[in-house]
Assembly symmetry: C2
Homo-oligomer: 170 residues x 2
């Protein structure tokens, strides 16, 4: 019984983690498919009249997903320079944005890095506190753990994918 | 040690279920807030030129979320009549759609019913097979369980919320 006592919870956790990462990967695959289909001209078009264009949405997804690295205590952001142009209001005066080709490369690099981090993180770690909740609040709300951040960011990505898809006129 | 063996996995499961349901409720709250803000006229407007209007998106979310009831083996759909107008192509010839006021009521009723079902479902049940995966496939891919459907449908809702928000001009 001893072995079962110590391994069962970890097996459970590994299953949960697989569920969350699978859904994350599914959304990434959908974004990848769409981006590879759209021309740079289409990506530079507003997703709807008066709304953000595809470049902003892509930059925003990179900046926000990149933010998971420090938030989950995995390391430093790969692209801290994308925070200013792509988080908060779009088209801030005097804030330059990188070329589309650079953003597309950053997106691929970031996903490879996140996949590596997520794969290497021990199961137990996913259920610990992330860096934007206090130890006191976490003691009361243990569901607000690192894995919860990934569930939340997957939904955030789905939200913007629903907008990005409007650029697909084919 | 015996007690720990049997209770620890359930506590783990309950925590994980809470994470998934919390994210589902967060998306519901966002849709509710937006719907209560939009006029019927705004809801009847396309979310972007040539795209579905808010009424279709709302009807689609009700129909798809309602589909979880039989899929998870919880019971029968509350609004089976919404499948024809709101799943698949929009504006099918000869397919009538209910008035906006009726849809808004159905949305509230459905969420109350889903909340009840989700709360009452035993933790162990969430990790069992749903009705669109075969026992053979489930044996190989146990992460494709009932709870995984809720993660997936939460992302589906986020995707469409990203479109619905375009009706908010204020």
């Amino acid at each position: 019984m001893e072995a079962q006592t110590s391994t069962k919870p970890t097996a459970e956790k590994e299953l949960f983690i697989k569920m969350v990462i699978s859904n994350w990967e599914l959304q990434n695959a959908r974004v990848n498919k769409l981006i590879s289909k759209l021309t740079d001209e289409e990506l530079a078009t507003p997703t709807a009249p008066g709304r953000n264009n595809g470049v902003w949405v892509l930059g925003h997804l990179i900046a926000v997903n990149d933010g998971m690295i420090p938030l989950l205590g995995l390391g430093e952001k790969l692209f801290p320079e994308l925070e200013a142009p792509f988080v908060g209001e779009a088209n801030k005066p005097g804030v330059a944005t990188p070329p589309i080709a650079t953003l597309k490369e950053s997106w691929v690099q970031l996903n490879a890095k996140l996949t590596q981090y997520f794969t290497e993180l021990p199961a137990e770690e996913w259920f610990t506190r992330h860096n934007s909740i206090s130890p006191e609040d976490f003691a009361k709300e243990p569901h607000r753990n690192k894995l919860n951040i990934l569930i939340n960011r997957t939904n955030h990505q789905s939200y913007h994918l629903g907008q990005l898809i409007y650029l697909d006129k084919k």
